[in-house]
Amino acid sequence: MITTINALVDMGLLVVLSVSALMLVRCNSPLNTIILNALYSFTICSLFVIMDAVDVAFTEAAVGAGISTVLFLCVIHPDDESGRLFVWPGPLATVVALATGLLLVFGTFDMPLYGDPQVPVHTHLVTRFLEDSGTEIGIPNVVTSVLASYRGYDTLGEVVVVFTAGTSVLILLAAGHARQDSGDGLISNSILRVVMPRIIPLVILFALYVQFHGDYGPGGGFQAGVILGAGLITLALLTDSRIMQGVISERWIIRGMAGGVLVYGLVGVASMLGGGKYLDYSVLAQSSTDGQHLGILLIEIGVGITVAFTMLSLFVSFNRSGQTGD
């Protein structure tokens, strides 16, 4: 029964997804594009849940609903809306895209069928992760085990990517004419004034839960960082961003970004000093699994710090130099 439901919901969501993609291609107003993009993100997130990728869904939810949309909104401008509703794509684009698509469709006929368990994807590398991670790492969430330990170095790379993006945006928008902030945040709205102060602590609490519960359920440092960042962004959206700066100065936001990377990197250095390879957490404590626990905990905190502060930094940079205020 559940298989049928799974297949049905899968198909249904895929149809919704395709339609929203077509609408996106067709739509020519930036604001609508962004709205549809958010919708697209919701759908694909549901699909990830259907396909058992709960951690991915979590990330997509945090990113798609929280950060992406806000960033896009900071950048668009009402004047961008062009009169043209729909233009057929140019011949070059069509040919290139269709050729690529046809090549891919041609390739699909040798691909494993959806859900087939007897393919190399499911029989080679992953068996060790599923069978041994319980004893080797000792935490139930295999995604977290692989992410933070077996492939912990990729995750370091991921954090550095986030950090690089934060630094890049900082460089690009540092030379900004500071925006004349009108000072009237949304706080003037009485509903928001009442509701929001009660929700934001919840968001922050939830972020902490996601951060530390990541070993057992979906979530982890990245998701927690995004959620925390989203909470703080909400605060900033509600209030004047100058009030925001009273809470935490820009200088410290930047330091936080770098600090998380350092925490992660230094955990690796610590394991080198402990006699193991880089990021080999086993040497961090008496027993190997305790070491793994400790290492994963520490690096997840590093990830969380960097991501949260980067999200905040992105928002501050964009908000300061966004077009909508000039």
């Binding site: 439901i5 609903a65 929700i199 959620i227």
Partner: protein, 92 residues
């Protein structure tokens, strides 16, 4: 269990509701229609995920739905903040 077959129409209905929101967000015609549509769609997503994790026997994954419920509004808030304060075009 008897609940199992009940899930089927629930999903079908949810998907239909999502499709309706989708259509509205595409048609507009005003920005507010779209904002409402996206909010409705987000709510349906929350529901779909919540129901699905229940159906698949892992109610602990309801976290994701919770997450959506908690930060769904950020986009809307930003929209209102940047576009609500000034005149939003009626038609686009």
């Amino acid at each position: 269990m008897m609940a199992e077959w009940l899930y089927l129409p629930v999903f079908v209905l949810l998907l239909c509701a999502m499709a309706c929101s989708l259509v509205r967000s595409g048609l507009g015609p005003t920005v507010f229609d779209r904002i409402v549509a996206i909010n409705a769609f987000g709510t349906k997503t929350v529901l779909l995920i919540a129901v699905y994790v229940q159906a698949s026997g892992h109610p602990e994954y309801v976290d994701i739905a919770l997450l959506y419920a908690l930060i769904n509004y950020v986009g809307s808030l930003a929209l209102v903040r940047y576009f609500g304060a000034r005149r939003v075009r009626g038609h686009d």
